[in-house]
């Protein structure tokens, strides 16, 4: 079958791609665009490793068809911070050692950024509930929660 042509915006840049209708946004990000920071863990929406932000909403890339991206604004881990200017969440994850194997980390950072964008001062409970759909099998979560609290404090201290 002929491929579908999709025009969308990824990390602020207009992007066009061809895909099969059954391909997920996660498939296209990783395999077509080479944006491999978004990870495939479970592929069924349980683990959050493929977290991306679409039109301001945190979603699982594996639960969205790529053809649905038409006209949308998609943000992936590659669009958060820059190598020489990390996002405060990324900096806090580094400083607080909030990762071990790192596979879940991009998903956690994307999800934590989405949280802090809408709630700059979340409680520990709010952080834990917000991140309940991101699974980490190494850290036991404590360092991750602390890193998000740390990032929130840093972001509040920064001039707007």
């Amino acid at each position: 079958m002929a491929k579908s042509h999709v025009s969308t915006t990824v990390n602020g840049d207009p992007v066009e791609f061809l895909c099969d209708t059954a391909e997920t946004m996660l498939d296209v990000l990783r395999n077509t665009m080479g944006l491999t920071g978004t990870k495939e863990g479970c592929g069924t929406g349980d683990c959050g490793a493929c977290s991306i932000i679409v039109d301001g909403r945190l979603v699982c890339g594996c639960l969205m068809l790529a053809v649905e991206a038409t006209g949308k604004q998609v943000t992936t881990i590659e669009g958060i911070g820059a190598p020489d200017r990390l996002h405060p969440v990324q900096q806090a994850f580094l400083e607080d050692a909030a990762l071990q194997c790192g596979f879940c980390t991009p998903g956690f950072i994307v999800a934590a950024k989405a949280l802090l964008d809408r709630n700059p001062d979340p409680s520990e409970t709010e952080i834990r509930y917000w991140l309940a759909g991101n699974l980490c099998r190494c850290t036991g979560y404590d360092k991750i929660v602390r890193a998000v609290q740390h990032a929130a404090a840093e972001m509040k201290g920064q001039p707007a």
Binding site: G45, R57, L58, V59, C60, E68, Y129, G133
Partner: protein, 284 residues
């Protein structure tokens, strides 16, 4: 697999009617998992998210209309809806993770027809009406008439649930939904109960409606007429728990036994009734 994203309900109905085996795509959080596992292999998916009205919540003289493709996150962000229907909105907020709520729709939760769907008992308690459009035109039915069994609905071929109507709330009304899961998030209800109450001036219950979930092949309406005229004293609460357990027709599975589910659904109904009662007192 074809993908179509019609701009109108009529186009969506025509597409569903013309392509045998097409499936409706709203949030996709159930459908994409089925596509991946091979449990579903439709000839086409018809994405209803770009149809005007299916992604909006509107308040009218008759109550609230919620488009079938409205996501859980959009529901829990809607302050007026949360104030008027705290139970329906807390049920929507319990489904899956933040990521799942960014996509999962109210229409999808009801039409996926899981016995453990969280919003369905709350919508039943709310007396929600589903507006359906199909090749034969429009019809409206109470939400409890949609699911007919696990994964099965009463929708005819080509029919789409386009919206849900929640009736206008009298003063001193509120609802609540509770479910039991072994963890605190990201799980499927072992049992669930929703209670919607309206209080009279003197604080007695003037109207009551109860929905229970995960304890039968479909979410059920419970006859709760005995709550009317009471103030939820101990004896009435015990009767509610007993009635919920008696109405339940649960299965034994890894999430719970028949006896446990009968017991728990009663406890949840009692607790949800008390929460709805306190909320209704505050909603004068």
């Amino acid at each position: 697999m074809q993908y179509q994203s019609p701009a109108s309900i009529d186009e969506a109905v025509a597409a569903l009617a013309s392509i045998g085996g097409a499936r409706v795509l709203a949030g996709g959080t159930d459908l994409l998992v089925q596509l991946r596992s091979g449990a579903a292999s439709p000839a086409a998916v018809i994405d209803i998210k770009n149809i005007a009205g299916l992604r909006t919540i509107s308040e009218t003289a008759d109550g609230f209309r919620i488009g079938a493709a409205v996501s859980g996150a959009e529901i829990t962000d809607h302050e007026a809806l949360v104030r008027a229907w705290p139970g329906v909105t807390e049920a929507a907020g319990l489904i899956g993770s933040t990521q799942v709520q960014g996509r999962a729709s109210l229409g999808g939760n009801v039409c996926n027809a899981s016995p453990a769907a969280d919003t369905t008992p709350a919508l039943i308690a709310a007396r929600a009406i589903a507006e359906i459009v199909g090749p034969g035109g429009k019809r409206s039915i109470p939400v409890e008439q949609i699911a007919t069994g696990p994964g099965k609905t009463s929708l005819a071929s080509g029919e789409i649930v386009v919206s849900f109507l929640l009736p206008k709330r009298p003063a001193s009304s509120a609802d609540a939904y509770l479910r039991l899961i072994p963890r605190t998030e990201m799980d499927i209800a072992v049992a669930g109960a929703a209670v919607s109450l309206t209080l009279a001036e003197d604080g007695t219950i003037a109207d009551a409606r109860v929905g229970i979930g995960a304890v039968a092949p479909t979410p059920l309406v419970l006859d709760a007429s005995f709550l009317v005229g009471t103030t939820l004293d101990e004896a009435v609460l015990a009767k509610l728990a007993e009635a919920a357990g008696a109405a339940a027709r649960p299965i034994d599975d890894k999430r719970g036994t028949i006896d446990y589910r009968r017991k728990v659904v009663g406890v949840l109904a009692k607790r949800a009734a008390l929460i709805a009662y306190e909320r209704a007192k505050g909603a004068r």
